[in-house]
Symmetry: C2
Subunit: 202 residues, 2 copies
DNA sequence: CACTAGTGCTACCGATCGGTAACATTCTCG
DNA sequence: CGAGAATGTTACCGATCGGTAGCACTAGTG
């Protein structure tokens, strides 16, 4: 049951047989998430990736470019995680939903959890930064997929339910680093209760 | 109905008859919120406050010190806003709650809204930064006051309700800058529905 | 073997960062 | 008025920022 979140959360050392570009993205993912985008310099990223600044700039035109690739990477993986969860429970929306809640539980109880990396990035970046478009599109997509899921499970008001679930989850992730972990950890129970008690209909 | 949020949101020019310290805090509040803590230099803050770096450092030992004062200021004002809302509706918990939801509506529909300034700060600061303690204490306090409010209004499970309302609100504030404004703006209706439908008891 | 593409390395650039010294100026208030 | 405190101004510090030039090195390919 190793979390899908932590699978690449650590990039220390990293003299593995990966291409420099991959190692740089790994390092950026780790450092940006742990310390914030503005707090991490490109030199530190290159060093963590067991390479140097020049190689970094051969693969990314600028730090902003790297930030966009970082966001894109996270968005892609988020999509893939949901793809996988859905694929493992085909044609049974209830089980798909339950599996997603299990995944949420994994995420929130991960001790490295520092909130949603994409939301954190959005906080740090100006509204005009190109990475913001990637982030907003991802979040929109995620919300829409929840709607589809709840519609498939025949909930009476899938839009409303998706709003609630989406906001509760987002609230939990941001709260885990500044709202007391209590409410954030109790959100899984709340979600299960919510999903069980909501009316369904044809 | 001018928002309690925007009352000091703009600090431009600012050659008003305020003490330099006040102007610096005003400027920090504005710039930190709009651009993020790490993205704003002390020189820019001093300039916006119509003063200079030396005066800034006469009132704050370091930028970190200023950040702590910034967080403290926001926390105090948050407390005071809730104080005022409660004081204006003494001895009628239902009206207090309704007034708080109205306030939430004001906050979320403010076009300058960029999420909770304290949450945003927490995202940018390391867990060991002294301002983090201020932020976490404030959020904890806020959550506890919600519990008290719902208990006073005789909801059957005030703790659970407070968790839900708290997380929905936090989720809405973070989502407004990266989750599509849709769910965030619909949260007010959700809150009103939630509060109206929840069972009360003795 | 020679050629090429990718990488490592070092030294450097101008700009800006947080923070300070020293001194001139203004303001407050007895 | 006169004294002391607060503020303004300028110039500066070392460190670090994002980003680049130039060249040595390695590895794969024909």
């Amino acid at each position: 049951m190793r979390s899908a979140v932590g699978l690449a959360a650590v990039a220390e050392g990293a003299p593995i047989d990966r291409t420099p570009r991959e190692r740089i993205l790994l390092a950026a993912r780790d450092l940006f998430y742990r310390h914030g985008i503005h707090a991490v310099g490109v030199e530190a990223i290159a060093e963590t990736a067991s390479t140097n600044k020049m190689t970094l700039y051969r693969h990314f035109r600028s730090k902003d470019d790297l930030i966009v690739a970082y966001a894109q990477q996270l968005a892609n993986e988020g999509d893939e995680v949901l793809d996988r969860i859905l694929a493992e429970n085909t044609d049974c929306p209830q089980r798909q939903i339950a599996a997603w809640v299990d995944f949420v539980e994994d995420v929130l109880t991960n001790k490295r959890e520092r909130g949603c990396a994409l939301a954190n990035a959005a906080v740090e970046l100006e509204a005009t930064h190109p990475a913001r478009a990637v982030i907003e599109a991802y979040k929109q997509r995620k919300h829409d997929r929840l709607v589809g899921l709840f519609r498939a499970a025949q909930y009476r008001d899938p839009d409303l339910l998706a709003d609630e679930v989406f906001l509760l989850f987002e609230g939990a992730r941001i709260s885990i680093q500044c709202g007391g972990k209590g409410p954030a950890l109790r959100v899984v129970g709340m979600l299960r209760g919510l999903l069980a008690s909501r009316p369904k209909a044809a």
